[in-house]
């Protein structure tokens, strides 16, 4: 057994040289752009949820700067924004290191993102420790916001407590009235949270919950679950699942000719539609935004999406991401200075505009974003509720075509 301490010491020295970087622009100066730091899960397991977000983020900065940037009162001018983006590879420990880097080496002004609760949980603690306001994106688990942190906000959309609010509202006015509901849930904190909240609200509304089954994300065969569903014949089948994980379920529901007044899917997306085609014809779902919504910043968002070739129906988590950028921009403007404490104050219990409506944060930094109820009609998603923004008439019973 030979020893190679030379090699070890040499490589140890390489750590300091290779990885340390000189500090970036001065914090809060009026001559430098506003720097926003973030990570994206571009590789690894979470990368399967969205494509082309890095480009979208860059284009977002370009478009904002084209429109003049962010007005900062204390500087008497508008400042441009720029992003520092890393790939966290879907690994929480890597994300933590990278956010530490953003905060202490790249010296960003504020933090946005990350996505996904596995990563948001650890990263929020990093931001808190460095006292850098962070507006997380697709981090939906409420307990992450209940840790008493003062510098943490998030823009998951929709939030679990409001997820199917409009859908159940709609159910009050349909005819024939549904009486029973069956929940099929993917084993995932967000989806389980949705089922917990909305099965209770369904009961409160007079719908009897006749069954609730859970399945793992890699489940391939649903015959057992569907056999139970078929024998119970519920009026509404509520599928609470990510789009990808539900593909086999959807296909097998079609094959087994499961009939119901409506099948509701919490993530009815373009990606799902591409994979299962007509199997989801007539299904209802939720969408946070759709083309034609004329809310605030719609023009900016439309342009960004078009230029970066990201379709909100395909990647429904996109609006949440963009909202985190929009919120921090408005907070800086509201604070009037590129100053962390002032922006923190501006964010606290703040109300901010977004294309899908206002975002109101509670004292934990948790927002109130809701969603529109959609239905897939002739292969296209249309908004069916609320009636004043609906783009088409609801077809009820929804899955009569099966």
């Amino acid at each position: 057994m030979k020893t190679r301490p030379c090699l070890t010491l040499v490589t140890s020295a390489m750590i300091g040289l290779a990885v340390a970087q000189p500090a970036a622009a001065k914090l809060g100066s009026c001559d430098d752009p506003i720097v926003l730091g973030t990570t994206l899960s571009e590789s690894g397991v979470f990368s399967t949820l969205a494509d082309r977000w890095r480009n979208m983020t860059k284009i977002f900065a370009e478009e904002v700067n084209k429109r003049g940037g962010i007005p900062v009162k204390d500087c008497n001018k508008s400042l441009p924004i720029e992003f520092v983006i890393y790939d966290d590879q879907s690994v929480p420990a890597t994300a933590v290191s990278l956010y530490e880097r953003l905060a202490s080496v790249d010296n960003v002004d504020f933090l946005v993102g990350p996505d996904w609760s596995s990563i948001g949980g650890p990263v929020s603690a990093v931001a808190e420790r460095h006292k850098v306001p962070i507006v997380m994106a697709n981090v939906a688990t409420p307990s992450i916001y209940e840790r008493g942190f003062k510098y943490v906000w998030g823009t998951p959309a929709p939030v679990v407590p409001r997820w199917s609010e409009r859908y159940f509202e709609m159910l009050k006015s349909v005819d024939p009235k549904p009486k029973t509901i069956y929940f099929i849930t993917e084993d995932n904190p967000v989806m389980k949270g949705i089922t917990t909240v909305w099965s209770k609200k369904a009961e409160d509304q007079g719908l009897k919950v006749v069954g609730s089954e859970m399945f793992s994300s890699t489940q391939k065969d649903f015959t057992a679950v569907l056999a139970k569903v078929r024998s119970l014949k519920p009026d509404i089948i509520y599928v609470s699942s990510f789009d990808g994980a539900s593909v086999p379920l959807v296909q097998q529901m079609a094959q087994m000719q499961i009939k119901a007044m409506d099948v509701h899917h919490t993530m009815l997306t373009g990606s799902l539609e591409r994979q299962v085609g007509a199997d989801i014809e007539g299904w209802t779902g939720e969408l946070v935004w759709y083309q034609g919504v004329k809310g605030d910043y719609s023009d900016l968002v439309d342009t960004v999406l078009e230029r970066s070739n990201v379709d909100m129906f395909d990647y429904i988590w996109t609006l949440s991401r963009l909202n985190s950028y929009l919120v921090i921009m408005q907070a800086i403007e509201k604070a009037g200075a590129v100053d962390r404490e002032k922006v923190k104050a501006a964010l606290y219990r703040g109300t901010f505009k977004s294309p899908a409506g206002d975002i109101v944060f509670d004292e934990n930094g948790f927002p109130n974003t809701g969603a529109f109820t959609i239905q897939l009609q002739d292969g296209k998603p249309v908004v069916v509720w609320p009636r004043d923004v609906a783009t088409a008439q609801l077809r009820w019973p929804a899955t009569a075509s099966h």
């Binding site: 571009e42 590789s43 690894g44 397991v45 990368s47 399967t48 949820l49 969205a50 494509d51 082309r52 084993d187 089954e213 859970m214 399945f215 793992s216 890699t218 489940q219 391939k220 065969d221 649903f222 015959t223 057992a224 679950v225 056999a227 024998s231 990808g244 593909v247 086999p248 296909q251 097998q252 079609a254 094959q255 087994m256 000719q257 990606s271 591409r274 994979q275 299962v276 085609g277 007509a278 199997d279 395909d314 990647y315």
Partner: protein, 289 residues
């Protein structure tokens, strides 16, 4: 209730056939060349992604298979010849380590390049062929077709292994390499061909897989683990055994979902594997004499 049982049974058989298909290529490469290929499942996922893109470009699955199988064959042969074969001439420790590193590296490269070029979101080939209905039991035509294709493939490969010179040569090389060489079998060429053949099988499996379920570039390793489970249960190098093992596994998963809890179904394959190995530590490998 008998209809539910039958439905679950049939669903399990069809799912199992697909599992077996995933394991075939591995059974060959591991059985003959004794290489633990960690990139096996990822290759399948990547070819699946490519198939789905070709389908979007307008090709039908048969053409897709006809194009991709030779490509995979070439890839497999080249991969073995350039990267794995030279390791065989090193000592047993180094060749094992080397294969692990090479296949892990390949896994990382394959998933990353595919993700960059084609995007990481799940893709499939959404063809619907309708269903047969017998009484209360529903049998999807597509999955039946896939099961038949799998059975045919098993038969075809089995015949090749037992009736052709190539097949006998493979088995000779597996059992006694030096003696086989003395009899005129060019071992290196043969192993390269086997690996290429295994990769070709993976391509067929990939096309059939995406006709049923979606794939993404990062799901591969999970498939590899399942494939290893099946070849242990079925006997290494024993393809009909792998088919039986796969079907058994599919049915076991379905039954777990029916009689116990759907959440535990994915665990059943691992538990079965561990139980079998505990009872019979040498596995079920039969001598392919």
């Amino acid at each position: 209730m008998i209809e539910v049982f039958l439905q679950v049974l049939i669903g399990g058989v069809m799912l199992g056939g697909l599992y077996a298909l995933v394991a075939f290529g591995l059974s060959l490469t591991y059985g003959v060349v004794h290489i633990l290929d960690f990139s096996h499942g990822t290759l399948l996922a990547v070819i699946g992604v490519i198939s789905s893109l070709l389908y979007l470009a307008g090709l039908n699955p048969l053409w897709i298979a006809l194009i991709l199988v030779p490509c995979a064959f070439a890839y497999g042969g080249a991969f073995y010849f350039a990267l794995l074969r030279p390791l065989g001439s090193r000592g047993p420790f180094e060749s094992t380590v080397g294969t692990v590193l090479v296949t892990v590296g390949a896994l990382l490269i394959l998933s990353d390049v595919t993700s960059v070029l084609a995007g990481a979101t799940p893709k499939n080939i959404p063809i619907r062929l309708g269903v047969y209905i017998i009484g209360d039991v529903v049998i999807p035509r597509m999955q039946l077709a896939i099961l038949l294709a799998t059975a045919l493939l098993t038969l075809a490969i089995h015949l090749v292994l037992t009736r052709t010179w190539f097949g006998r040569a493979i088995r000779a090389v597996t059992q006694e390499q030096v003696a086989a060489q003395l009899c005129g079998v060019r071992s290196v060429w043969l192993r390269t061909m086997t690996f290429a053949f295994g990769a070709g099988t993976v391509a067929i499996a990939a096309v059939l897989y995406v006709l049923t379920y979606p794939v993404d570039p990062y799901m591969g390793f999970g498939l590899t683990v399942k494939a290893f489970t099946i070849i242990i249960l079925g006997g290494i190098g024993n393809l009909p055994g792998a088919l039986v093992a796969g079907i058994l596994l599919g049915v076991a998963e379905g039954m777990t979902g029916l009689y116990w809890d759907t959440q535990w179904a994915p665990a059943i394959s691992v538990v079965l594997l561990l139980v079998i190995l505990a009872v019979r530590p040498q596995g079920f490998a039969r001598k392919t004499a």
